[in-house]
């Protein structure tokens, strides 16, 4: 298995291709995030550092907003932990695919896992074996675009382009739809989809958006799991 997973340029380019929709989606997202953080009084270097070290869209947006409102550092960090705790689910799901990787390689891989990278990895690895060059290319190119667009946003905070004029703000949702679709022909997967969506919607309307993502994921997975048991192993 290790032999078939050597460094390989064509696998790396395949990862670049897989990262393209993420990159396109990160441009308006990162741009907006850079603007918010610049308005919070952060320097371009600090915005670069945050995009490089934290690399979590929602978390960075919220941090910018909280800094503007004068929140304490501790409350910002705790909020970040709550908002970003969903990442635990992502690397748990990906673990079986990369179980044969070394711990250091897994840890480096974990560093750049976002909602979008996870969406692409989980779809790709379910159909193909985990490939080092492809996996890291997806992560590196996505992260690079995130950093660049944050910096661009921060240095042109006055020059706000109306990305909503085009449909670019829809890129990541379209990516999610395209990745979900092939799985929905499976009834338990469809049940997980509906349960996850409705649960998250309820939390969202109660202003608990981020708790809703975790609750929707867990509840949806349970419903999918038990639905599968009923279908394949009788009642």
């Amino acid at each position: 298995m290790e032999n078939s997973d050597k460094w390989n340029i064509s696998d790396f380019l395949n990862g670049f291709k897989l990262a393209l929709p993420i990159m396109a989606g990160y441009v308006p997202l990162g741009f907006g995030c850079g603007i918010v953080c610049a308005e919070a009084g952060m320097s371009t270097f600090q915005i670069f550092l945050m995009s490089f070290l934290v690399y979590a869209g929602a978390g960075q947006y919220i941090a910018g907003g909280m800094i503007i409102s004068g929140a304490t550092p501790l409350s910002i960090i705790i909020t970040t932990l709550i908002v970003n705790s969903r990442h635990v689910l992502y690397t748990s799901v990906l673990y079986p695919y990369v179980a044969n990787w070394g711990f250091l390689k897994q840890s480096l891989f974990a560093y750049q896992i976002t909602d979008e990278a996870f969406a692409v990895h989980s779809a790709y690895m379910a159909n193909n074996q985990a490939n080092t060059s492809t996996a890291f290319a997806v992560n590196i190119f996505s992260h690079a675009l995130w950093i660049i667009s944050n910096i661009l946003g921060s240095i042109s905070a006055t020059l706000i382009p109306d990305s909503s004029q085009f449909g670019l703000d829809f890129t990541l949702y379209a990516l999610f739809i395209a990745l979900i679709l092939p799985r929905l022909i499976n009834i338990p997967q469809a049940a997980a989809f509906i349960t996850g969506g409705i649960t998250a919607l309820c939390f969202y309307l109660l202003d608990m958006q981020y708790a809703g993502i975790i609750a929707g994921a867990l509840l949806g997975a349970f419903v999918g799991y038990f639905m599968n048991m009923r279908l394949h192993h009788g009642k």
Binding site: A24, G41, M42, Q46, M50, L53, T72, P73, I76, I77, T80, L81, N84, R86, V88, L89, Y90, T91, V93, P96, Q106, A110, Y111, D115, A119, A123, A126, S164, Q165, G167, L168, D169, F170, T171, Y173, A174, F176, I177, A178, L179, I180, L181, L184, P188, F193, I194, T195, G196, G197, A200, L201, L205, G212, I213, G216, A217, L218, G220, G224, Y225
Partner: protein
Amino acid sequence: MENNPINYIYFIIIGMAVVTYFSRELPFIILKGKKLKPAIVEWLSYIPVAVLAALLIPALLTGGSGKTIDISLSNFYLVAGVLTFIFGYFVKNLFLVIIFGIGLLAVLRYLY
């Protein structure tokens, strides 16, 4: 910390980086070297669809970032989302589906 705004920002960045990386790395630490039971792997296999639904459905039904459900033709996010689902059912190419979704939303906004 508070009376030094520069340290204040760096403290926040480092703290955020630590807790975010912790969330990403934790499973690899806990599961290190372990082989997951098939039942757990089965359960985990439903997480991607469930979590993407959790990210997608509220956004589509509330029109992006609204705070109320808007099921109408004036909710372009919902219209574009539903039509992108239908388009993707027939055209199974990832890039075409994404381009269709973006293009459709742009056209809806341009026309209405």
